[in-house]
């Protein structure tokens, strides 16, 4: 049996037998990313909704900066958070470096522009389609942003799921601020990187399979939500955001 096949068989065995080392890492990964997404979404949804509706001087510059932050490499985010949380940094006294909290902060900062930018796009499309009618009913900017975000909640749900996928699959930021400490800050992506470099393929493969499954599950959820939406709203001429005057 080839090395790869052997490793794959061992990896499947680790998964199905409930190997504590593997599943502890998986649990920690999901906890870090879920917490980070909750924080990022709490702020990103509000900011993105408001940006989708509000019109002010400098809005174009804000959107350009926001879209630029979408492409910031995760290692750069990790570096910035590291500098802030290091002993000589602004928040060094908190003692958060190389901890769960540091990883959550880094991933939250990484995912925040994603949530904000995608929310902004969804709400802005809805505002173009329906904002006029809401204004006609008397809804101001803030209320319109909330109402349109709520109305597009299924589209925003897919934004949240995509943001979680981004967070759970990144490695650069958590490696820098978490330190990949065994039993403490080791998550799926950093463990895969380490185990592969050590040549310990079964654990790396096992974690990789779990990570792939998580991403597959997320995408399946997105497809399910879309399909359910289409079934519920059928052929109504109101249709998706932006389609009707």
């Amino acid at each position: 049996m080839s090395t790869f096949t052997q490793s794959a068989v061992t990896a499947l065995d680790l998964i199905t037998s409930g190997d504590p080392a593997l599943w502890t890492i998986v649990g920690r990964s999901l906890a870090v990313s879920a917490t980070a997404c909750l924080l990022a979404c709490g702020l990103g949804l509000v900011l993105g909704s408001w940006l989708g509706v509000a019109r002010f001087r400098g809005r174009g510059v804000c959107l350009t900066l926001l879209n630029t932050m979408l492409a910031v490499p995760s290692v750069v985010v990790g570096l910035v958070v590291y500098l802030l949380l290091s002993r000589s940094g602004l928040f060094g006294a908190w003692g958060w470096l190389f901890s769960f909290k540091a990883m959550v902060v880094a991933q939250a900062l990484l995912v925040l522009p994603v949530v904000t930018a995608l929310t902004r796009q969804v709400v802005e499309d809805a505002e173009h389609g329906h904002g006029e009618q809401l204004r006609s009913l008397g809804a101001g900017t803030l209320l319109r942003s909330v109402m349109l975000a709520w109305d597009e909640r299924f589209a925003l749900l897919t934004v949240l799921i995509a943001a979680f996928g981004r967070a759970v699959s990144e490695v650069g930021a958590v490696m820098i601020v978490g330190g990949n400490i065994d039993g403490f800050t080791r998550v799926m992506t950093t463990a895969i990187a380490l185990e592969t470099s050590k040549g310990d393929l079964p654990l790396a493969l096992g974690l990789g399979l779990v990570l792939l499954s998580v991403v597959l599950l997320l995408n399946s959820l997105i497809a399910l939500v879309r399909g359910w939406r289409q079934r519920v709203e059928g052929g109504s001429f109101a249709g998706p955001a932006g389609a009707a005057a």
Binding site: G129, H130, E132, Q133, L134, R135, S136, L137, G138, A139, L143, M147, W150, D151, R153, F154, V232, E233, G234, S236, F237, A238, A244, A245
Partner: protein, 237 residues
């Protein structure tokens, strides 16, 4: 008769496109004014300006602050919630408490014969049903001035008749509270049935402003505007 709104020399542009040019118009309480003209003539822009959705680039627009307005659009927007909630929304935005707004919404839906669908998802309704919900939403707010932008344009003949009947019913108002209506329409039959006065627009200008009887009198219309006369002949052909 009380003047509801006045426009003096109003211009409105969207970038390089002049949507309204030097529009002078006065609407009195109780009038049912139809705006007619081909696509792009400025009907929708004029309605939006009257409703405060657009500001004039030049000229003067006056609408008394006490005049309550409601606008119905060609394709009404329904939130992803129940029909009753969609109607209650307008009232809630007017400052009515939500619980009271929902109760009033139910009465408005009964008025348009939609009460049995109050709990349905509004997005799942047909076009005609959604337009009736939009009319209920507007009616519930007890407006003094109705603005309607081609409310039957997207509907099948049966739904058109139903919505038109509701428009006629609402337009009657009451002796104590006359209802004023300004509506845009391509349907000259509808204009004849509903309007008391017709304003013809072309390229953003008002070319004719006549009582409905005179507007559909070829000789009188020809004397005022040859273009309007051609338009009517073309539409009725």
């Amino acid at each position: 008769m009380r003047t509801v709104l006045t426009l003096h020399g109003v211009n409105l542009s969207f970038g390089p496109v002049a949507a309204l040019r030097d529009v002078n118009l006065r609407v009195d309480a109780g009038e049912r004014v139809a705006l007619v003209g081909s696509n792009g003539s400025g009907k929708s822009s004029l309605l939006r300006l009257m409703h405060g959705l657009k500001a004039p680039g030049a000229g003067c627009f006056v609408c008394h602050a006490s005049v309550r307005q409601a606008m119905v659009f060609q394709r009404p927007f329904m939130l992803r919630t129940s029909v009753q909630n969609n109607v209650a929304l307008g009232l809630w935005l007017d400052g009515v408490r939500w619980h009271t707004a929902r109760a009033q919404a139910l009465r408005a839906l009964a008025r348009v014969d939609m009460a049995e669908l109050a709990g349905r998802n509004a997005r799942a309704l047909s076009g005609g049903q959604q337009q009736r919900v939009a009319l209920a939403r507007a009616w519930a707010r007890q407006p003094d001035l109705w603005l309607l932008d081609e409310p039957t344009a997207s509907l099948d003949p049966h739904a058109k008749r139903e919505v038109e009947a509701l428009m006629a019913d609402f337009a009657r108002g009451s002796p104590q509270r006359p209802m004023t209506m300004v509506f845009a329409s391509h349907n000259l039959g509808q204009v004849k049935r509903l309007a008391s006065r017709v304003v013809y627009l072309e390229h953003g200008r008002v070319l004719a402003d006549l009582p409905v009887g005179d507007f559909f009198n070829a000789e009188r219309l020809q004397a005022v505007s040859a273009a309007a006369c051609l338009f009517v002949k073309g539409e009725l052909a």
